[in-house]
């Protein structure tokens, strides 16, 4: 089979990058309010998916997996491929890898279910990307340009205008449910990929990934139940807004402050959910070759790999949204910094555009920090044995998250 699929995918990535750049330019020119709604949505998808998610995910293959591991292990990492004599921190390696993947032979093993074998990478990849549609990268935009800041929740009002949803693909009031629903669909892709390849190792990997992901899915939701009790909303943007509350005027009430146990559980479960080491049993290099994607080659393999990285970014984004205050910068509100509680005048006044930029940067920064932390853990800890993964999921993490939920419920009831 020719690599036309792969070539189309590559073109899509290039087109997406172009879309991202152009839409950025359009945004800066201030044409956005004049554009029709569908175009805005397309732009948002283009920028978020290709300008951020794909960029981070694909760069993680280089920066996270190669350079970071090299630094941890006292090595230098790849730097031999050069552009005009410049190694550029190994960037040419990353591009060379992509090109190599495009030109490799696409092998479908004898006896494989051809359709499922071909569809499976997409089944893994699409849900990984879909989840980002409900992630708020910034608060909604006030059409009059300058929201009014009030001392109490919701802190920012838009009296004469309306809130425009520019920084979130879908403003869904059940965003969290959607995110988890999408995240759990990924199981199908991995399982089908394992089954369709007609390889026992693949099948084992597929079964393992199904078992592991479903086991940890339970704790993933339950660890957040406490937060739902406290905040009483499923809207992700609303959750982030609520994290702007200040305790005693100084301590921002981020998720990690009000639910520290849930944070650690969620982080742990997130790592297991993305099948990253130390929870890489579905891949299980030493036992079952490469698990459910043993029989994948060429761009299909690349897509599965990339989907794992995208899932990592997605879990990091969720962690940032739930626990690290999302786009919130401590003490920063729509008109500037308010230290020690919201007063009539900001302590440091800032124009609205600067606040927006700072908040977006804060969001991206938090995501990157969590991704970095996940990679640190990936390069620090040895993998669990498969039964240990299961024991941990059902006997430790699940009871802990339940206990956390009950204690939180009790406290919420009292208060």
């Amino acid at each position: 089979m020719p690599n036309w699929l792969a070539i189309i995918l590559f073109l899509l990535v290039v087109l997406g990058a172009a879309t991202g750049v152009i839409s950025g330019a359009v945004w800066s020119a201030g044409f956005l309010p004049a554009m029709p709604g569908w175009l805005i949505i397309l732009l948002k998808i283009g920028i978020i998916v290709f300008g951020f998610v794909m960029l981070v995910a694909s760069l993680m293959t280089l920066v996270g997996d190669r350079k970071q591991s090299a630094k941890i292990q006292n090595r230098i990492g790849p730097n031999r491929a050069t552009f005009f004599g410049q190694s550029l921190g190994g960037l040419p390696h990353f591009i060379a890898d992509g090109i190599k993947m495009l030109f490799k032979e696409d092998i479908v093993p004898n006896g494989a279910h051809r359709t499922f074998h071909m569809v499976a990478p997409a089944l893994i990849f699409i849900p990984a990307l879909l989840g980002f549609s409900v992630i708020p990268f910034m608060d909604e935009y006030c059409s009059t340009g300058a929201p009014m800041v009030t001392p109490n929740y919701p802190f920012e009002l838009c009296p004469n205008g309306e809130w425009l949803n520019y920084f979130q693909v879908i403003d869904l009031n059940s965003g969290m449910l959607f995110a988890f629903a999408i995240a759990s669909i990924e199981v199908y892709g991995a399982t089908i990929a394992g089954w369709a390849a007609n390889n026992k190792y693949s099948l084992l990997g597929g079964m393992r990934s199904a078992a592991q992901m479903i086991s940890y899915e339970v704790s993933l939701g339950l660890s957040l139940a406490g937060l739902l009790l406290i905040w009483g909303t499923l809207d992700l943007n609303e959750m982030v807004r609520l994290q702007g509350k200040l305790f005693a005027g100084w301590i921002p009430l981020w998720g990690i402050v009000i639910q520290p146990v849930a944070f650690f559980l969620f982080f742990l479960v997130g790592m297991a959910e993305t099948k990253r080491p130390p929870f890489d049993q579905p891949e299980g290099e030493s036992e079952i070759v490469a698990g459910y994607f043993t029989e994948y080659s060429s761009m299909k393999f690349a897509v599965i790999q990339l989907a794992e990285y995208v899932a990592t970014v997605f879990l990091a984004t969720l962690t940032a949204v739930f626990f690290l205050g999302g786009w919130q910068v401590p003490f920063l509100f729509a008109d500037g910094f308010h230290f020690g509680g919201i007063g009539a005048q900001p302590d440091i006044a800032l124009p609205y555009a600067v606040v927006i930029a700072m908040r977006i940067v804060a969001m991206l920064f938090k995501v990157l920090v969590v991704v970095w932390l996940q990679f640190m853990m990936r390069w620090t800890y040895p993998s669990f044995r498969y039964d240990q993964v299961m024991t941990m999921g059902w006997k430790i993490v699940l009871p802990l998250s339940l206990a956390n939920f009950f204690v939180t419920a009790f406290i919420v009831l009292i208060i």
Partner: protein, 181 residues
Amino acid sequence: MGEVNVKTLKQKDRTFWEQTYVTEFIKGLGVTMKHFFTNLSPNKEDRDTRTVEYPDEPRDYPDRYRGRHRLMVRDDGQVRCVACMCCSTICPADCIHIEAAEHDDPSIEKYPETFVIDQLRCIACGMCVEACPCDAIRMDSGVHVSAFEDREESFHDRETLMDLGGQSMAEQGGDHIPSPN
């Protein structure tokens, strides 16, 4: 039957925190983070990496590294070798070819008209240097023998060997200089 002495080694009990793995996980993360940030340092000296980026950064050979041969020269720039054949005789690989000729200067008996070392045969044992009675051949140039594209290139003739040469501290043809001890 003698009694079997059994020594019971008491294992250190794991503390509560060690059993939860929480502290140990944080400690482990601390170790990798230390390495990570040390190696991110902009100052190369502070980093912990041991990699030598060889072709870009030539690495210093140790003092006693046996590199390319060199023929030392006299004060007036002529070759120091007196064509005594000691080195070619002792050479186990038989890679030194010397043709002696008479020198115009009556105080110098012989000199090598041709002096060729076949670097493809040379095993870098250093015995020629040991054998040389007048400090004429040395292997301390610190230059490694490079790869050859052509067999001809492996024959290092007298001029090639003298290019690396320098003046010796030993007195030419004179009295034996006693060692300090």
